[in-house]
Symmetry: C2
Subunit: 145 residues, 2 copies
């Protein structure tokens, strides 16, 4: 279900235009892993009058509220996505930047076992696989590399 205005209020955030627009984008855009820049540019294109600073502020607040999640890929590409029910990891295409989500229970379980073995209190993790996706163009780029 989509994030409602109530959800925002519950997080102590007023329901303002920039916040609504940013949420909409994250929920409805086809590739729902967006960078701050992506969001900013798209809003400008839509004729919204927002500042890049606001985009960053809103994204930071949303992250703190647990509404969205932030990822730093090795690409040097930071992206945000709506928080989802089930945890998942990412496959990132180094050519077209496409992101594919996947889940794998075996890996998930192993991670906890590793943390335990080292006496770590696990609070999060990131698993990103980098490669070239199945698009002809990207496979081409892979061969050329």
């Amino acid at each position: 279900m989509p994030i409602s205005n109530q959800d925002l209020r519950k997080a102590g955030l007023k329901v303002t235009l920039p916040r609504i627009k940013i949420l909409e984008l994250l929920e409805n855009s086809k590739q729902h892993h967006l960078s701050a820049e992506d969001i900013y540019k798209t809003l400008l294109e839509q004729g919204e009058d927002v500042g890049l600073a606001t985009v960053y502020r809103v994204l930071t607040q949303f992250e703190a509220a647990g509404i969205i999640q932030r990822h730093h890929f090795e690409n040097n590409h930071s992206v945000f996505e709506i928080m989802q029910e089930d945890h998942h990891d990412h496959l990132v295409c180094l050519n077209c930047n496409k992101v594919v989500e996947f889940t794998n229970d075996v890996i998930e379980k192993e991670q906890h076992s590793v943390a335990d073995q080292h006496g770590f209190a696990l609070t999060g993790h990131s698993l990103n696989l980098y490669g070239y996706c199945s698009d002809a163009e990207c496979q081409e780029a892979f061969r050329k590399k």
Copy 2:
């Protein structure tokens, strides 16, 4: 075995003082995951007259030459480490920034299977577990959070 001057020459790199010093640091420092800033400051403390730009340039060249590896942790902490024989992943303490290496064959194998399933040509991956290490101080920070 340590990286030799020959190894540098083989990579098309002249054997210069900054390069030697940076290699020494990466090989001998206790916590062998260092940021560019760490390296720069340590060299200054040792009385070496290097520029931060040189540190970055050398690290980039070393990475291209396969001598070292670069990691971007979600901390917003980028670190470098000497390339090792066997691949390994990382446990990162969010309190003291300590990095612990681990290997897990089960996870390793699953990753390839996931990439295959999605038609990706896998070229690399990063798996980082974040949490609080077993140091009393860090466990304390974890409880307070």
